[in-house]
Every structure is written in C-alpha cells, then in structure tokens.
Amino acid sequence: MRFSALKRDERAGYEGHIVPASSLLEVAKALRDEDGFDLLSSVTAVDYLTDNEEEESFFEVVYHLYKSTGGGAEVLRVQVPRENPVVPSLVELYPGADFQEREAWDLMGIKFEGHPDLRRILMWEGFAGHPLRKDWKEVYFEEEAKPFGNRWPGGQVYRVEDQNPYGKNNQYPDGFDPESWVETEDPLLYENLEKAAREYTEDIDTEQVVVNLGPQHPSTHGVFRMAVRLDGETIVALKPVMGYLHRNHEKIGERNTYIMNMPFTDRLDYLASMSNNFGYALAVEKLMGDKVAPPERAEYLRVIMAELTRISNHLWAIGFLLNDLGAFFTPALYAIEERELILDIFEATAGSRMMCNYFRFGGVARDLPAGILPRMKDLVNERLPRKIDELDLYLSENELVRSRGEGVGIITPEDAIAFSATGPVLRASGVPYDIRRADPYSIYDRFKFDVAVRYHGDVYDRYMIRVDEMRQSLRILKQALKDLPEGEILTGHNPYQVRVPAGEAYGRVEGPKGELGYYIVSNGKPSPWRYHVRAPSFINLTILEKMCVGQKVADVVVNLGSIDIVLGEVDR
C-alpha cells in the first residue's frame, strides 16, 4: 500500500489494514478514486473490551470495501479508545454509510465526526446507553452467554427478576421524561426535515404540510414510518424512521452459541430464511476452515434452496409492488399461489415453511425426503416457467403499470453505487453486480446463468429485473436439479456445539433483496464475540429519500415497494 499510515493487521485470523482515524478520509478517497473500491459494503464497530490489565480495551470500526466490477474486499479498520470514540464520517465519500454509521452510533456509541444527521436510528430517543457495548447490561440481565444456568435449582421455580445481578436497571437519558415525550414531536427529526425542505423552492408560495406516513400505515410493509413534508401532493422532504420492530438481534446473537444463531437468522428476512442461513453458514465456515467444507450434495442442496427462496421472494415482491400500485390483491394472490408450492417443498425438506433453519456448518440439516425430487423437477421445469411467463404477459405490458412505473423513482448507476444499494435495486440501475458472479461463493461458478441487468433505474425496471432474475434462478435450478449428486449431506456429525477458532470473517451472499453479509468475530469461546448483520433492505433504504423528493405521494409508496423491504431485517 502506498500510504505510510496503513498498517497490515497482524492479528491471527484477521485481514485488512489498520488506519489511524486522522487519515481515514484520505485513504478511503484514494481507494475509491484510484483503486476503484467504490462500493462500501459494510460499516460496523466491534467492542474489544478486555479485563486483562496488560491489554488495552478499544473500539474498532470496520469498513468492508468492494469494487463494483467484482473481486475481493479491502478491509479498513480504525481503532479508537473506548473513552470518547470519534471517527471521521465517510458520508461525504460514500453516502451509503449514512444509516450504517447512525447504527454504529446508536448501538455502539461511536461518534462520526461530520455526519450530517447523527441520530439514533434503531433504538428510541428515551434509551440510555449503547447496547452493543460489552459493558452494557439489559434490564433483567441474567448471564453473559447462553445456555443459561439451571433455571430450576432444586426443582424450585424462581423469578428471573429476583435473581439478576443488575436488577431493574431501566434508565433514561439525562433530562428525558418518558411521560411527556411524544414521538410525533421529536425535535431532532423535524429539524432535519425542515432543513431539507428549506432547500426546496417553488414559484408559488404555498403552505407545506408535514405528514407521517406510518408507522401504522397499510403500505409501509410493516411498522415503518416516513416523515414527509408535502407541498400539495409533491414530496419536499422525506426522512425514514425505523426501529419499531427492533429487538437487538446482534446483542442476542452474541449471547447465543454459534449453532443457536442459525434459527435466529431465519427471523431477519422472514420471507427468505434459506438465504439468511446461507450467509451465516458461509461466515462461520470461513472461520472454521476446511474441516467443515460441505460435501457435494449439500452444496447443491444449498444452491437449490437459495434459488427457490429467491423465486418465492420475488413473487412476493412483485405481487405486493402491484398491490402498492393499487391493483387490489389480484396479482399478489396469483403470485402467492406459486410461492405456496415452493413453501411446500421447504416444509417437506426442512420441516417448516418459513422458519426453515435448514443449514448447518458443513452442510445441511436434512436430506430431501423420498418423492420430493420429482415434484421439484416438475415445479422448476414445467409449472414455474409457465407461470412466470404468464405473470410477465399480464403485467409487464399493462398500460397502467407502465405509466405508474416508467420514469418514477429513478436511481442513476453512480448514485446506486455511492448509496451502497445492492441486489435488484443496483442491477436495475445498470450495474451488473451480482455476488454470485462478482465474488463467487459455494458452487455458483459451476452454473450457467446471466446476471440480470436493466438500465433505466426506475420502478418499472426494478419490477422487470425481478422477473428476469426469476428466469435466471430457474436456469440455475434446472442445472442443479439435473446434476444433483448422491452422497453425504453433512461433514461430520450434527454438533450441538462447534469450536470456532479466534479470528474474524465476513460471509456474504446475494440474497433476494441484495447483499446479505454476516460479520463475525470469534475469540474462541462458544458464542461469537461480535455478530453483525449487513441487512440489504436496511441499507437499500438509504437512497429512499433521494428517490422520493420531488415526486408525488402516490409514488413514495411505489418507490418503497420497489426497493422491497422486510421490516424484520430492517429493524433487526
């Protein structure tokens, strides 16, 4: 590396470079402009708290940078002291860092200097402290790691709240009164909304109205809120507000043992649990090394399940996008009919339709039951291609769909990359970036398929790209089902506890909604030291504001639908 400031990370099991906070901006700029690392995939922080007197405790902010043309990662780390952790913000260089830095501030308490809008994002304003710090203990804290000790000592039931060492440590920030606080009068949010609105000028001097779309709203796909300023029907400013479904997935994940997190990932994007499993399994397998390399048949089963998940997710996404356009449930219900058939296969194989919990480190949990393979072949070769063609025939050329979708919510390719958009949102803007090709994992390099790409970056293209992707997934499925070998499905036995050597790993897959990444730091103990999820629907929302400003109210709903979010994953 050209920079004298850069230091290779020497710790065992780590890769990348350590950058002093003072030169982070300079290094990132050079990496972006000269080396082409233009896609900031993930920003997160790790709390290296130690009881050992000789070692120093510190926070580490970890950046994963990729090239939008494909290839491996450049990992940058900034280490800052635990007292007063300040890191320069990358929002100027990578606008996609916006929400992720806010998340790191919210959950870990890292101050990002120069961030335009550093507010809490997942927790609420009345929350004291930063929960992902290792010295933060929740209300009714029990123990550091699961499995918790015997809850029935001597066969006696006792109440957890009587036993915990920290008691009811419920706190509020200084000067915060939960009784008088009203969410819809949150000054921080509205000041920012005001600021954005001031830049908007109109010839006619009209009064602008602030409307809160959500959190209880029929078309935000869950409890998601958009505070918008309206001039008539035109959006002047928009701020997304999320976290209503927040359960601190990562904190719970750091208490769980490695295998306990597998079913827990199902709950992120509950429409695509197989993909969630896939990413997590990849990350942990990277840490565990070759001894858990999955056998051939398991690799094929993984790909088959992941691609079926993609199809079922896109069917759902298209159905509900049409619903957002005002088509009263008919396309959605036809799409769901096909999705049910895919879920039947999941149920037969994994035992559950949605919370599949199917992947294990080194393979998959169960083999295909007898008689399911012909059904899968029939579905993939006969029924689904026909039904997808039918969907395409009835919807794609519909006059109203075209007029509502074309030219609405345009994202330029430059913006899409800068805002860290991934998945269909990025590819609909003309960037053919698909991790299955750009940075192949599992056995995707064996299959013939095209990276679907569309060039207008509008709502209609984001709809069309999902149709294209379903067709490509069918191509992969046809090949995988034809070549599916016999044999083992799991390396070794199915363990209750895995030994994970110390180190870090970032496992990412091309999920149906975008790049789904898991950043895991192990210190050799049974539970991960740090477990971070790079949630695609959360990060794809960063660009929502830019998409919507200047458009009509009706388009906001459609734009949101075309990003395809699942609140379980956004809020985690």
Partner: protein
C-alpha cells in the same frame, strides 16, 4: 279525495319498496363483490354464514352496529356527524326517477313501476349526484386528519372534473330521444339500445361514472396505499358504514342509470305482455354492470392522481364534447 289518498298510499308503498330494495341491494352488493373478487383472485370468499354465505351481510351489519363510535377530539362535531348523512341521502333519493318497469294493473288501478316520472329527470340526476361530493369534502375537512383532508380535496377535484364529462355523456341520449324524461328515453330504445348507436358516449359515461362513485381505478379519495382510508379514516362504527352504504348504493344507482340510458332500461323480450318482467330485466342489467365494476377493481392498478386529472380534462372532456357535437350535427343534417 278518494283518489288522492290512494295515490298517497301508492307513493308511500313504492318509496318503502325502493328504499328496502336499495338497502338490501347494498348489503348484497358487498357480498357479491366479495364473492366475485374471491373467484377472480383464486380464493373462496365468505361462505360460512348461512347457505353459501348468504347471511354474511347481515352479520357484517350487526357487527358494525355494535362497533364503538369514535369522534376525534379536535373534529368539528356537527359537520363530522352531518357528513355521512349527506353522503347517504343523495344515494337513496337518486333512484326516485328511474323507472323499473311499465305499468301494471293492481286493485283496479294503473300503477306505474317507478316512483315518479318527471320531465327533467336528467337534471334531477345530475344535481342530486353532485350533492354527495359535499359529504366527502366535509368528512375530510371536519375530521382534523391530514389523510382525510387530502382525500377530501382529491375527491372534490376529481368529482368536479369528471362531472363535466358525465353531463356531456347525458346529453347524447337526450339528443337521441328528444326528451329529458327517462321513460321517454327508454321508449326511444324500443328498437336498438343506445349503446349500439353511441358506444363512445356509453364508454365515457361508464368511465365518468366510475370516477363519480370513486370506484377503482379512480378510487383516489380513499386510495388505501397512500391515504390509509382517505376521507373516512377517522370514521368508525355506523358512521363508517353509512359512507360504505352511500358508496354501494350509488354504485347500484349509477348502474341503473347506465342501464336506463344506454341498455334500454327495463325493456327486454315480452316486457310489454308481462310488465312484471321489467324489474327483473333491470335487475339483470344492474347485476352485470356491477359485475363489470368489480371486475375492473380486481384487475386494474390505480391511476396516479395527476394523471387522473389530466385524463379527465385532456382526453375524456374533449372526446365527449366532440361526440356531442358530431351527434348533434348528424341529427340536424339527416333529420333523424
């Protein structure tokens, strides 16, 4: 004096029948809509309450009566309560001028099937139809809710712009029949229905009528995806169901008017010999027209609000003006 009393009784009986028919019609239109939608959407629909789910509307009504009625603290109470009434009343009285059959002989009296036959029936229809927009605007304005406000504003703009085309579409049957009385218009369709003479006017009328009753794809004022429930966001219980009632009764009413103007009204085979077939034919035509409305709702996405206004002013209005002009010229030139 004797005759006057009999006439009074006749009117009261006919009005009662009409109102009951509309109320029952409203209830079963919701049922019809739910079952037909379900059929289109590969679902089953309500089939548990009574045989084939026929008691479902009764159960729904009962449920709505027992719902809590909420009035927002900052609402303008008087207007808030007035608004649903203003929506329902026009929907109830609009059917008064629509004939449902010829005349029958009962108790030694000639009784016309139809409440009244006034010679300016069309003007009556237009004026009554536009009253109901007040209900929606006032509901939106008095609720003290931004969604409701926007819904109310949208609907007033939408209804005003589509009323023009609707009015012009009314003109064509008037020209063809040479009368504003609905009975005369039906008589004029004795041979061929006006829809075959004037398909464009019928199409314009149907589109404008969808907009007038806020049905998909013109259900802007209550666009669920954007405005939650639009102007009736804050309404609950029976007040909500009054809006619901108003909407569905208006659907029935405009379908009946459409049938009268373009589909020959109650006319059909043997209706001259058996006048009681008249209401049946009218019912069938209304049933089909309602089915078409439901089908459209199940099939089409919603237009965006600005495109909807543009469509109304830039396409529908010029088209209907042109149509009226051409029709008038043809009638004058060929002396039809």
């Amino acid at each position: 004096m004797q005759i006057e009393t009999a006439l009074l009784i006749e009117w009261v009986v006919k009005s009662t029948i009409l109102i009951f028919a509309l109320l029952t019609g409203f209830a079963y239109t919701t049922f019809y809509e739910r079952r037909l939608l379900a059929l289109i959407q590969v679902r089953i629909g309500p089939n548990r309450t009574g045989p084939f789910g026929f008691l479902q509307p009764a159960a729904d009504g009962l449920k709505l009566i027992f719902k809590e009625e909420l009035i927002p603290a900052n609402a303008y109470k008087f207007v808030f309560i007035l608004a649903p009434i203003l929506t329902v009343i026009p929907a109830l009285i609009i059917m008064a001028v629509v004939p449902w059959g010829g005349a029958i002989e009962l108790f030694g009296r000639q009784i016309a099937l139809g409440l009244t036959d006034i010679n300016v029936a069309i003007l009556y229809l237009l004026s009554v139809a536009s009253i109901s927009v007040y209900g929606i605007v006032l509901a939106g304005w008095s609720s003290d809710n931004k969604y409701a406000m926007m819904g109310g504003l949208r609907s007033s703009a939408q209804m005003l712009s589509y009323e023009l085309s609707l009015g012009l579409a009314f003109v064509v049957p008037i020209l063809l029949a040479g009368s504003m009385s609905l009975n005369q218009i039906i008589e004029a369709q004795r041979g061929v229905w006006f829809i075959f003479y004037q398909p464009i006017a019928a199409l314009v009328f149907y589109i404008a009528m969808l907009a007038e009753v806020n049905r998909a794809p013109f259900d802007m004022p209550e666009a669920e995806q954007e405005l939650t429930a639009g102007y009736h966001t804050e309404y609950s219980g029976m007040k909500f169901s009054l809006f619901f009632m108003g909407e569905y009764m208006k659907m029935i009413a405009v379908s009946a008017i459409f049938a009268t103007l373009f589909l020959g009204g109650y006319r059909g085979p043997f209706v001259d010999t058996y006048p009681l077939l008249g209401p049946l034919y009218l019912f069938l035509k209304v049933f089909l027209s309602l089915g078409l409305m439901i089908w459209i709702r199940a099939t089409l996405p919603r237009l965006r609000y600005d495109r909807l206004m543009a469509f109304g002013w830039k396409i529908l209005l010029p088209l209907s003006i042109l149509n009226v002009f051409v029709t008038a010229v043809i009638i004058v030139v060929f002396g039809l």
